[in-house]
Structures are given as structure tokens and as C-alpha cells.
């Protein structure tokens, strides 16, 4: 199991051919209290970089982009009633959606944890 990050602060964790996507702990700390998550639509085909869902906080509404191309298989429906899960556990229970990965090769363009930590430190 391995986890990758995008420059837009999404993470994707790979398990077989499925990727679980969320926003990083850094992203949730910058957004502040999350008030609403517009869930990703199951069965939507996404290209890498397409807006998949929307996270609203007290400060801003932000699109969350697909880290890699694929078809949405599941959204985290628990966030409908408990958007605060994204603040409490952004990189765990606060995951946003799952994706059937179309092209695992696209993962190579993403950052691993070490590279992402360095990227955030430089912001």
C-alpha cells in the first residue's frame, strides 16, 4: 500500500487497482473548519486534473481534483452529515472518494510522502 500527493494537496492511496483520494492534513489546516462536502458522483469518468468534488470551509469553497484518471467507484457518504471528519482525520476517515485507476503510470508524476513534506515546508 502506498500513498502519493499532488501539488494541489490531494492524496491518493493505492490498493490494487483502486485509489482512495482525500485532501492532505496541510490542506485541511489551511482551509479551516470544513462545513460541507459536495460528494463525488459514482460512475463518473475523470481525467487526471478534473474537478471531482467540492470541499467548503468557513473560508473558501475548493475543488478537489482527480490525482490520476479513473472512474469514481464510491464517495464517502459519511461526510454528508459529518464534514468535520475531514478536519479530524484528513488522511484517514476523512477520505473523499474511491477511484478505479485507469492508468497506473500516471502515479509516477505524483510526490511521495517525503517529497510532499519537503514541498509543504517550502510553501
Amino acid at each position: 500500500m502506498s500513498r502519493y500527493f499532488t501539488p494541489d494537496h490531494e492524496w491518493i492511496e493505492i490498493e490494487g487497482e483502486t485509489g482512495t483520494v482525500g485532501i492532505s492534513d496541510y490542506a485541511q489546516s489551511q482551509l479551516g473548519d470544513i462545513t460541507f462536502v459536495e460528494l463525488a458522483q459514482a460512475d463518473t469518468d475523470l481525467s487526471k486534473g478534473d474537478a471531482a468534488c467540492v470541499v467548503e470551509s468557513v473560508k473558501a469553497a475548493s475543488d478537489v481534483y482527480a490525482p490520476v484518471s479513473g472512474k469514481v467507484t464510491q464517495a464517502n457518504e459519511g461526510l454528508e452529515d459529518q464534514p468535520e471528519l475531514v478536519n479530524g482525520d484528513a488522511q484517514g476517515a476523512g477520505w473523499l472518494f474511491r477511484l478505479a485507476i485507469a492508468d497506473a503510470g500516471e502515479l509516477e508524476s505524483l510526490m511521495d510522502q517525503t517529497a510532499y513534506d519537503a514541498y509543504v515546508a517550502g510553501l
Binding site: Q30, D33, V58, A60, P83, E84
Partner: protein, 522 residues
């Protein structure tokens, strides 16, 4: 600073301890004449009524019997004096432009001159009805026409659509005109480019008009990245939406070149005119290659704004887009009389019009106010509006930049708004603390956390209608709050202490809003 009260004496406004609203020292909950107001439902009961309503004499029509109400309506049941007092007491808790500065960046909360109101209340303007025969309202049509002429002259554009009701509605009007122009050319273009420094409504409008939005990054100086924009231009781009001056409070100096590049690939340029106050009388958007721009009469032209509206967002159009303008519009006929061109007449007069956006002709009451403002200022006065607005913003910027980080302070003078960030505040202190502190100081807070490209943004737009004394008072308060936040003064976390309410739980209000009053059960 010239303190208006040199003795420093202030009336006592309570202990400021947490929970000061729930544990009032008085039985009523009021503090002197600072009133604590319950909900109307908590004042009244259904046994009371402000008016006598007689029982209906006839039975309801059989044809509507299926729709008859089964339960009594839940009305608060206030007597007339209770009702009047309720709303008057609420109005005393409100803060408005008639009470003090309202430095909301991007909103241009300038003073609304009373002369506008006097003119709008003249019976010939106040009492007209949109369905009156046109022959009975030549004066109203003349107002629309004169205002249209001024807006065209001030923007250097070719035509103006007067009917859009506010800024975002005007954006939609502009994009529908752009789409109609592409349709007329038999072209289907799917992409609208929106720079990061544009207003947040721009991408929403483009999406609503059926376009796919692509974002163009900002440079480190807070301006449009022209190279990135040029790279993305192509035959699939319908247009570009730019805010100029932009939301970082900066003029886009490459606007003309951007317009030329967009036109070269067959696209159109929409400019968000929300910040027109900075350039009115100084720069004509038509000279910059702009094809469509809305003008917020409720910003630049001083009509009421924010609760007192309604807004009004006429859209000026270039020669290329003018044929697609919506109906209705005013046109002078061969006899010199003004006439509204409506459906059924457009075949000859405007065969390419994209249609109608509003039921009637636009916000007539705002037209009279805006025209009164324009005529009372004149061309030289309007130019001075822009100059003073920019001067005031730069005065705020330069008076505070040693205590508040100004991310684009080195980019030269700002336009009509000064942008600060929360960089440099002590750990645990943020823009929100400064904003809440301003409430204690008796000011409406500035725009916060916008634009998004700046961390912890504070966008201050003083407008030209604040005097130097007023600005100095605001600056003294802002500087003091910034210094407290830099030092890590914990008491700032408690602000506002002197407001009727302390910090509200904005998160819960957004997550679980209570929008409708319901009788408590049991």
C-alpha cells in the same frame, strides 16, 4: 491623530466577560439603551393580531378547496406597536454605511448621497409602473437613455444593456452575448479562461452559461500570468473573464495586449467591472480591447447596496457584441421620441438579440439615483472620484504596511483597495482576530480571506467618501490591532467584547443552519 473625544472617556459597555449576553446584570436583558431583541415569535402569540380581519362571508370556491389550509398558519401575532418596535430595535443593532466606514474590499461601500434619494422620490419617477403605456412615461425613458449615454461615454463602448439586475447577472448577460456571437459564426467553443485574480463569481457565471472553466495562474506580483494565458489560447476558447483592476487591488497593465491576443484567436474579452470605481473617468475599458463589462451602479455610482439595494448591473458592449444585446432597450424613433424595443419588434430593430433576461426594463429606481449621481458630479467630479478612491487606499496601505504584511506592497501603488495578509502575526493569531477586533473598535470589518491567492487576505477598500480624519481613526484602530496580534495579545482572541454578541460559531452556522422558526415541541 485628532481623537474626537480627547478626554478618552467612554460610557461603560459592560464587563466584556465571556457570556455577557446570557448573564445580563438587568432583568430585561437590555443594557441601558443597548437593546436585547428576541425573535418576533418569542414576543407574540397567535392570540394577538395587529389588525381586525373579518371572517369571510362566502364559502371558498369549490375549485380551490383542495388547496385550503388545514392547519392554522404559524404567525407571530404581534400588535402593531410590538411589530414596529421589533424592527426598529433590530435596525438599531445593524451597522450600515450611514453609521460609519464600511471598508469591504471589492464592494465599494461608498456614501449614498441624499440628493439621489430626493430625485428618486419625485412622483414622476417613484410612481411609474412598468406596464404603463410608453407614451405616459417619456421622462423615465429619457432617464434610461441619458444614463445609457453616460455609461457608453465613460467606458468608450458601443452599446449598453440596461436590464441586468446586478453584477453576476451582468456577467451572465455578457457571456450570453459572447455565446450568441459565436453561434452566429457557426462556432462551438467550450472554454472560458478565468485568471486566479478574478472575482469568484466569474467562473460560476461561465459554468452557468454552459462553458468549461479553466484557471490561469497569477504571477508573484498578483497579476495575470500573460505567458500562461497566451499558451492556453486557441480555437476552443470562447473568451476570457478578467477583473481589472483585479482582486489584488492592482491594475492589469497588459490588458490591451491580452485583448489583442484573445481577439487574434477569435475569442472575446469579458471584464468584471466591479472595480470600475478605481478608473472611472481615467481609463475607458473600450480602449483596452474589452468586449463586455458590467457596471455595478450600486458600487461606482452610489446607489444603495447591501440590504438597501437592489443592485443594478448594466453591461456595456463592444461593436462586435452590440448586435446580440438583450431586449428590451430604448431607441429613438424617426420622430425623435424614445421607445422601448420589445419582442415582436426585434426582427427589424435587433435581429440578432439573444433575447430577454428580465421581466421589465431594469432597476428604474437605481437608474434615477445613478443618473442623479453622475449629473451632480459631472465628468470632472467622476474623475476625482477615481483619484480620491485610489489616494485613500494608498494612504491606508502605506500607513499600515510596517505592521501588516502587504504582499504586493512593492508592486507600486495599489488601486482602490489595499491588500494585507496575516503573515507576521504571532503564532495562533489570524486575519479573523483582526476582523473581530475591528468590530470592538466600532468599524465594519474589511473583506477577509479573499482573494484566495493571498494567505489570510485582508482587503480594505475605503472609497473616496471617507475623510482624512475618518481614515486616520480607522488606521489607528487597524494598527493597534495588528500590533496586538504581532505581540500575541491573548485578549484579542476574545474580540468582539463590546458587540451585542461575542464570536459566533460560524462553523456550526454553516454546517447546521437553522433557517426556519419552529414551535418547540412539548
Amino acid at each position: 491623530m485628532n481623537a474626537p473625544n480627547p478626554s478618552g472617556w467612554r460610557p461603560s459597555v459592560g464587563s466584556g466577560e465571556p457570556g455577557n449576553t446570557g448573564s445580563s446584570p438587568t432583568v430585561s436583558g437590555d443594557r441601558g439603551l443597548t437593546l436585547e431583541e428576541p425573535l418576533s415569535f418569542e414576543i407574540g402569540d397567535s392570540a394577538k393580531c395587529g389588525v381586525d380581519i373579518e371572517a369571510p362571508e362566502a364559502e371558498p370556491l369549490a375549485s380551490i378547496s383542495a388547496f385550503l389550509r388545514k392547519d392554522a398558519p404559524q404567525l407571530p401575532g404581534l400588535t402593531e406597536p410590538e411589530c414596529i418596535r421589533h424592527y426598529t430595535r433590530l435596525s438599531r443593532q445593524n451597522y450600515g454605511i450611514d453609521l460609519g466606514p464600511f471598508p469591504l474590499g471589492s464592494c465599494t461601500m461608498k456614501h449614498n448621497p441624499r440628493l439621489n434619494e430626493k430625485v428618486a422620490r419625485l412622483p414622476g419617477f417613484a410612481d411609474v409602473h412598468p406596464l404603463q403605456p410608453q407614451s405616459t412615461v417619456p421622462g423615465a425613458l429619457e432617464v434610461i437613455e441619458q444614463l445609457a449615454d453616460w455609461l457608453i461615454a465613460l467606458t468608450g463602448m458601443h452599446a449598453v444593456a440596461m436590464s441586468p439586475k446586478a453584477g453576476a447577472h451582468g456577467e451572465l448577460c455578457g457571456l450570453l452575448a459572447i455565446r450568441a456571437a459565436h453561434d452566429a459564426n457557426g462556432e462551438t467553443r467550450r472554454i472560458v479562461l478565468v485568471p486566479e485574480s478574478a472575482h469568484g463569481t466569474n467562473p460560476a457565471t461561465a459554468a452557468f452559461a454552459g462553458y468549461k472553466v479553466e484557471s490561469i495562474p497569477a504571477t508573484e506580483e498578483g497579476r495575470v500570468d500573460f505567458d500562461a494565458l497566451k499558451k492556453r489560447l486557441g480555437p476552443d476558447v470562447a473568451g476570457v473573464m478578467i477583473t481589472n483592476p483585479n482582486t489584488c487591488g492592482l491594475f492589469e497593465p497588459e490588458m490591451k495586449a491580452i485583448g489583442d491576443a484573445v481577439h487574434a484567436v477569435g475569442g472575446y474579452v469579458y471584464c468584471d467591472g466591479a472595480n470600475f470605481n478605481a478608473i472611472v473617468g481615467k481609463v475607458r475599458p473600450g480602449d483596452l480591447g474589452i468586449d463586455a463589462m458590467h457596471i455595478n451602479l450600486h458600487k461606482t455610482f452610489s446607489t444603495p447596496h447591501g440590504g438597501g439595494g437592489p443592485g443594478s448591473g448594466p453591461v456595456v458592449l463592444s461593436e462586435a457584441l452590440a448586435p446580440f444585446a438583450p431586449i428590451p432597450f430604448v431607441r429613438r424613433d424617426d420622430n425623435g421620441a424614445l421607445r422601448l424595443i420589445e419582442e415582436g419588434e426585434t426582427g427589424d430593430a435587433a435581429p440578432l438579440s439573444f433575447g430577454r433576461m428580465t421581466a421589465f426594463h431594469g432597476q428604474m429606481g437605481m437608474f434615477t439615483r445613478a443618473l442623479a449621481y453622475i449629473l451632480s458630479h459631472g465628468a470632472d467630479g467622476l474623475r476625482q472620484v477615481a483619484e480620491d478612491a485610489v489616494l485613500n487606499a494608498n494612504y491606508v496601505l502605506r500607513s499600515c504596511e510596517d505592521v501588516l504584511s502587504a504582499p504586493f506592497g512593492n508592486a507600486g501603488p495599489c488601486m482602490h483597495e489595499a491588500l494585507f495578509s496575516d503573515t507576521g502575526l504571532a503564532e495562533g493569531f489570524s486575519t479573523l482576530d483582526i476582523a473581530k477586533g475591528l468590530i470592538d473598535e466600532g468599524f465594519h470589518p474589511m473583506t477577509v480571506y479573499f482573494p484566495l491567492v493571498v494567505k489570510g487576505a485582508m482587503l480594505v477598500e475605503p472609497t473616496e467618501t471617507e475623510s482624512k480624519l475618518g481614515l486616520d481613526r480607522f488606521i489607528a484602530s487597524l494598527r493597534s490591532l495588528a500590533e496586538r496580534a504581532r505581540k500575541g495579545d491573548e485578549s484579542l482572541h476574545a474580540a468582539p467584547v463590546y458587540a451585542p454578541r461575542r464570536r459566533l460559531d460560524e462553523t456550526q452556522a454553516a454546517r447546521k443552519p437553522v433557517l426556519v422558526w419552529r414551535e418547540e415541541e412539548g
